[in-house]
Symmetry: C2
Subunit: 370 residues, 2 copies
């Protein structure tokens, strides 16, 4: 009732020229399937994705437009099952793709289909309306989940390597100040600093000068170290203040940037009939652990091109019933984005969406820095 209702969704499955160069590490010597087996597999996957029910031999013949009888297809299906690409939920049910079946399917799905115009415009419009980098990423997340009706994940570029454009110390109350660090990526980090009791505004002015001279231009990852050195060489009366400032950056700044994850569209997951209640709960719980999530996504997007992690290809136990489609985008350093959904997702459509959004995000970002 929820998905695949607005549009007929034809997958435009193209027969691949060859067995297809699997650019994901081949886990096993993947015997090259004969042509008809491929067609059958593809039919099973697409039909199952579209309707969510196990698909039988008769359906395959109809869907694939094959010129043989169901009995023949049954033989092929037996072979495919032997190969571990499909399976029966129970005897006397149709076949369902296994994770490896999906993998095989996805591997010859190097679809270059662009997003259709109305959607493309939606993306452009929404991303164009952002008023700062965080807002931009939040909107990216939102548009991604709208397009795919899946959970969207966006992580900000790691800011470790970004350079500081501005270091400021804003006094809030007599006892506290706010340390502001602005990177050339447009990211702003801030830390509350508890000042020693006797700190005067004049002291702060002097600290500002010191910070401006010695910290600006450094990489964010180095800030804490640099501040440590500053404390050493500082005049005695500024020492306490500088120590306070240094301590405020203790936990590291880069970490914080890593954990900056935007998640959207959880509601869609709940609508999915695929999941049991407790699976669902565990997945949602995982979505709240931003740190884990960030690592997950960063790990997945080591490659240049979009990556698909299907079911048990995911390291994390709780994600064995889900697939992740992710891609990184470049800025000063790469960030990544992607979606998470049931293994039974429309990979073709999702892939185009993820690619398109990543491209658009990158474009918007580079527009801003030119």
């Amino acid at each position: 009732m929820t998905a695949s209702e607005d549009q007929p969704l034809q997958l435009t499955v193209r027969v691949p020229s060859g067995p297809g160069e699997a650019d994901v590490v081949a886990e096993e010597p993947t015997a090259p399937l004969d042509d008809r087996k491929l067609v059958v597999l593809r039919a099973i996957v697409t039909e199952y994705i579209a309707h969510g029910e196990p698909v039988g031999s008769k359906r395959v013949v109809e869907a694939a437009g094959l010129d043989v009888s169901p009995a023949t297809v049954r033989n092929e299906m037996g072979a495919l099952e032997e190969l571990g690409l499909i399976e029966q939920p129970h005897t006397s049910a149709g076949r369902v793709p296994t994770d490896r079946g999906y993998r095989r399917f996805v591997d010859d799905l190097r679809t270059g289909a662009p997003l259709d115009d109305p959607r493309r415009e939606l993306v452009e419009e929404l991303l164009g309306s952002a008023h700062d980098v965080e807002d931009l990423l939040a909107k990216t997340s939102s548009v991604l989940s709208q397009l795919t009706r899946l959970v969207s994940l966006v992580i900000a570029p790691a800011i470790d390597a970004a350079r500081l454009k501005l270091v400021e110390l804003v006094s809030l109350t007599p006892g506290s100040a706010l340390l502001l660090l602005v990177a050339d990526t447009g990211r702003v980090d801030k830390r509350l600093v508890e000042l020693p009791a006797a700190t005067t505004e004049a002291d702060l002015d002097r600290v500002r000068v010191v910070l401006g001279e010695h910290v600006r231009g450094h990489r964010l990852g180095e800030v804490h170290t640099v501040l440590g050195e500053l404390v050493e060489g500082a005049p005695a009366d500024l020492r306490e203040v500088l120590v306070a400032v240094r301590d405020a950056t203790a936990g590291g700044l880069a970490d914080d940037g890593l954990h900056h994850v935007f998640v959207g569209g959880q509601a869609a997951l709940v609508g999915e009939e695929t999941f049991e209640r407790d699976q669902l709960s565990r997945v949602l719980q995982l979505l709240e652990e931003r740190a884990t999530l960030a690592r997950l996504l960063a790990d997945a997007t080591a490659d240049d091109d979009a990556v698909v992690r299907i079911g048990n290809e995911n390291q994390v136990e709780d994600l064995h019933a889900t697939s992740l489609v992710a891609q990184r985008y470049q800025l000063v350093t790469a960030g990544s984005l992607g979606v998470l959904g049931p293994t039974r997702m429309d990979y073709a459509r999702v892939l185009t969406a993820v690619r398109a959004v990543a491209d658009q995000l990158q474009e918007t970002l580079t527009d801003l820095s030119s």
Copy 2:
């Protein structure tokens, strides 16, 4: 299986001195219940909260330690049903509290019980470790959902009235700059500004001076207007830049602050057996509409004391199966926090948790500004 497992949870129901002054607007002339009816009602509510099953007359006698027979209690229950305080899910089932029943129960629950020590320490520790205001609020949300195992909501204080401590313009690339606005609450707002092609660093310096002189000290809500006036009186060659800066603040700044909502613990909702799949989905969807959420919470916490909105007392249709327990906290201007869960929640425990966290948050915040 999920909730109420770690501790036996005694509610310490104290018999109230009088009928209790209902400090929430009395919707109806609420007939003052005779004493035994109150005891019965209370027993039904607590038992139902604890076990989630309709409770029958026999159970009531046992639980409440009454010295009368089940038959007598049945008569009382009949009366309570007539009053609309309890109901039967179906004939021959026990009774379940209605929303109005919960309301009645909550109204004489002016419990002042403090949080127990280990929990209190957990809260203090976690909130103490925050390194800036946003982080503090995020941690508040986290601790709140851990304590209650419900969905937690925290909104930042409205910053409309906050005063600007610092206005900065950081040039990122030749074509763009970042407008930084730091309020005295420690909140930082930022806007990307697309600069006219010919802008030089010297121009920016002059703009900085202008901003520092005329914008600093104003309320955030006024910034856009003030910038508008600045454009009028500006020298011709700075005009374009100032227009760009003004336009960057167009959407209003306060709005953005309002929408700063922290949500945590959604996973807990899914674990709840109470909800149907589609209800759940709609609630989660609502949780993603930060703007609506902020309004909801702000509306609810108009009062000084903690507020409980039970079931259909919530305006929003999708929340008719949930209760909201919320309290505001003061800073320069009030923010609010609360939790959302099934109407069948442990109001006593949740109330103490919400109060305790709000208090601690307020304390931590004022500590910072002294």
